[in-house]
Symmetry: C2
């Protein structure tokens, strides 16, 4: 018997939370593109219609109803535009029709759902079975789990459907797809980027395909949402775990792949299979596609190397934040130091140097090289540059108050913050905060001073990585025959806040390589003080560092969101009480 064929189109696209109309428009546009390429089955990411994650919008009945209504309109619209016979899988926000109101259950019983649109109708819908409630996820707060194993028969192939976490956790839809004897497992996802997660994800999908016993397609989202970045990297593997196709990272794409798949079985099981999941079968078309020579292999996009991958994530996150919040330009205080220089380079790559505004705000403690290095950065990148000296404002405050020590140091930083916000209010730029993860961890920053800004592009980047990324960016420019954006001197000089004469970071902090190593163990890996000492670090240094981290929570809380690149940073994935007397190292 002939093996049925299917041409599958995975639309790895961006989506904006709350902009249902525009998201629906994207689905139509990419469906048209998929149809033009001859697809037999078209898919879009998890909750593409509402954007992801919607957080408490899930608890607002008017928003849930808007999503449901938009899904029905979209089904009708696709048919009107001539795609009625093309099944389209679309993620959206739904509510359970069966869940009874219950104390402790999300109000209105919302569901993280996906539907198959066909013939102008919603022919099948289902909700995510496994709900993630860790790290940046809070899905038990928002959703009621789905309890079906959806299987849609398309041109004689049984396609089992799943949503994201359904593949990450054991049990549920992966074994159920095997029990239901599916010929293809299609999972739609909005899985946020993390450093090295692409490798984890690849191994996951390969393992799950073997477990499900069928070709498995993992469709990812791309773009950015607040601190989250979606890196694309959709994957198709066969039942033996061999990679069939892999999409590019950090860009929208339509992966079209011709697959040979097993024919649907006439006696395929119905009823309840694994984990209490009830098989929900819909037959759209029994007749296989007439045999055709496979033409489209989906491709194997080139992988970015580690530094380029992280840098690309930072650019993607910033670009999305600026655009989706309705800004066109950004504003950065340029100190001549490496943090603001890297932020400026990222900003130029994200929104174009012509939309990047830099201000040098020297004080009497600023070194000559600070101004020179800031001006040099502007010259190299072509960003818009100006200088505003802070002395008159600083002197005015000092004339009214008797300030010394840290109060005087912080004042300089806050005058700069106020200047940036004034320019932002006057000219409409979005202010970027230059803080890195090492500073944020130990609280080495001024609240309402250098922490001012709507977005912190390198908030989740340790200082040692700041250096590495700056070097990578310069080297990469060199390799392409371009001007390296970051002045060498910003990379090589000792880091300093320049808030008092001769100050350098190491007056207050351990050397960055040691500091960052301790921080990674404590912050990212939840190791205790004794374990960190056992890993080879000086006890006194560990005690001092951990105490700084334990007492900086309040400052971190007030820091703006920034691109998340590590498994555990500061933001939604790490939540600590402010009022907290726990001192790890005491």
């Amino acid at each position: 018997m002939r093996v049925p064929q299917l041409r599958l189109a995975l639309n790895q696209i961006d989506s904006c939370v709350g902009d249902i109309a525009s998201n629906a428009e994207s689905v139509v546009r990419w469906t048209r593109h998929s149809a033009e390429r001859g697809a037999h089955l078209v898919a879009f990411p998890e909750m593409v219609l509402t954007g992801y994650p919607v957080e408490d919008l899930a608890l607002r009945p008017s928003f849930v109803e808007a999503s449901r209504a938009a899904l029905r309109s979209l089904a009708a619209r696709l048919a009107r535009e001539g795609f009625g016979t093309l099944p389209v899988v679309v993620g959206y926000l739904d509510r359970s029709a069966t869940a009874q109101p219950k104390y402790g259950q999300p109000a209105g019983a919302p569901q993280n759902a996906a539907a198959v649109l066909y013939g102008g109708e919603v022919v099948l819908s289902f909700a995510k079975h496994h709900l993630p409630n860790y790290g940046v996820f809070d899905e038990f707060r928002y959703f009621v789990p789905g309890d079906t194993m959806p299987v849609v028969r398309v041109r004689g192939v049984d396609v089992a459907l799943a949503i994201c976490e359904d593949l990450w956790q054991d049990g549920g839809r992966v074994p159920a797809a095997r029990s239901a004897r599916a010929g293809l497992l299609l999972s739609v996802n909005a899985s946020p980027y993390e450093r090295d997660k692409d490798d984890t994800r690849l191994e996951l999908v390969r393992g799950r395909a073997r477990e499900a016993g069928c070709t498995t397609a993992y469709l990812a989202m791309t773009g950015g949402q607040d601190e989250l970045v979606f890196d694309g990297d959709s994957i198709v593997v066969d039942r033996d775990g061999k990679v069939v196709a892999r999409a590019p990272q950090f860009s929208e794409d339509c992966v079209v792949v011709d697959l040979d798949l097993p024919a649907a079985e006439a006696d395929a099981p119905t009823g309840v299979v694994d984990d209490g999941l009830r098989v929900d079968r819909v037959v759209l078309s029994e007749e296989p596609v007439p045999a055709y020579p496979p033409e489209l292999s989906g491709g194997h996009a080139e992988r970015l190397d580690d530094d380029e991958e992280v840098y690309s994530a930072l650019v993607a996150g910033l670009r999305a934040y600026v655009a989706k919040n309705g800004f066109r330009s950004v504003l950065i205080g340029l100190s001549g130091g490496i943090d603001s220089a890297l932020v400026a380079a990222i900003a130029c790559d994200a929104v174009g140097a012509e939309n990047v505004y830099g201000v040098s705000m020297p004080s009497k403690y600023s070194s000559g090289h600070s101004r020179d290095d800031a001006a040099e950065l502007a010259r190299r990148t072509g960003l818009n540059y100006r200088t505003v000296a802070i002395e008159p404002m600083f002197d005015a405050y000092m004339g009214a108050l008797d300030l010394t020590g840290l109060a005087e140091e912080n004042l300089q930083s806050r005058v700069r913050g106020t200047l940036l916000m004034a320019i932002s209010n006057q000219e409409g730029h979005l202010v970027l905060a230059p803080g890195n993860k090492s500073e944020l961890a130990v609280g080495y920053s001024t609240l309402y001073g250098d922490s001012v800004g709507a977005y912190g592009p390198i908030k989740d980047v340790y200082k040692t990585s700041v250096f590495r990324l700056a070097e990578w960016r310069n080297r990469s420019a060199g390799e392409r025959g371009r001007t390296p954006p970051i002045p060498e001197n910003s990379i090589t000089k000792p880091p300093s806040a320049e808030l008092r004469p001769g100050q350098v970071d190491t007056d207050s902090l351990p050397d960055y390589p040691v500091l960052d190593a301790i921080l990674e163990l404590y912050v990212d890996r939840d190791r205790g003080a004794d374990e960190i000492v056992a890993a080879g670090y000086d006890r006194e240094l560990v005690t001092r560092t951990l105490r700084m981290v334990d007492t900086a929570e309040y400052k971190r809380r007030q820091y703006p969101p920034g691109t998340k690149i590590s498994p555990k940073g500061f933001g939604k994935d790490r939540r600590l009480p402010i009022t907290n007397r726990w001192r790890e190292a005491d």
Copy 2:
């Protein structure tokens, strides 16, 4: 047969997150007090040993182990101090000994647990069965649920034990206590305060007692933790739902009550009862207490009326935040307006007028009455008062930048924020932000300006309630023959930000009674635009208001924590994406 008696001591006390040593010390002190009053069974609130809520500290193995070790030490210490024969129920943080590591499950399988300490040992421990994961709670993120029905036999009475949510949700330990034929159901809690929640809680406990078929004791926590306030109000009801005793609101107390209880049954069930819960029985003492005349009734503390209750919550929240974060004094910018006046009055009640510092920071747009009203507030309350004119700093910025309109308005507010932070840094006061819930909802405030501060005492109070509370506070002073703290003129004059000549709030906002009514429907009750219009509000006004709320998320995110008094406010109980194009009223 004689009915066994028990003298139960419910220690409704405060606890500080992370301060395990000091929390253990409190348990010893209050156990001594309970023993002196002749108690036979002593109880402490949910997670009293670690404080509540510990959030991500639950995922840190060193913290979990510290809690477990402290519990064992506490058991030994209590015995050493002569309380070895007195069973003491103590909430703490534990980990499951049986849960297998599993993707998606909290790392280390932590548990929100309680233990019975007796004879120098931990004789019984159990974990919360129902985990709340809504509003301010995220317990699925942190805890693995308990699966036993703990029953401890004390002087011939079977006491079933439960933790907080076990009573709020249906099923589980309440019916299981009946199935296990318990003579007393004791629930330990850390249930955060909300307006009118005391009434809900009373009806809950009465209903659950009838359901459990036995006397039910509900022991509450008191104090404050970040935005949460614990209001005390412990309750004991009999099996018919009749209130036996009720503790005071917002203060530490030891409620001691003599109870007549049914004798333990020899054939009481073992094994699994309701909801999969396995009965876990421990017999400490079979012999009933020798008969004694009941002396202690636990008392019925007087209820606060609604305004006093809310005002007391605001005072308790602020007092806890200041003290537990290691501050002694607070600093407030005094505009002469009602918001800062109410904040000052609350602060004087919380930490004493001698520890409250007020600064008037007039500009050229400040009216004469602003300075007079601020000075009058200082005179009436006795707080420390000074004046710093902002003109020199304002002029210095204006000399460097060409600012107009909103940028010029915001600048004044930011100069004030910088002044407050400078004084705070120099003198060590904690800055209070004066924003109310109406302003915060619509974004009528300046980021890094009037939003500056470590704590916002009236962050969750609508403007109309600000007026009501100010009037209540003045009236209450009058009734006690004291000087009303808030100048009449601050209450009666039209609210104004005074950032341009002749400005009043109603230039930008609807009248507060209408605004607050719309906000309550939208923010607190999740009503949609159409429903709000249907409730009798002008469509144009609703559209304008909702649009302001929908676009102010970023400002709210940067606002400091404040006392939570309503079921839904801004903070942990309401989480929205910043990047969000949803416009409810479009």
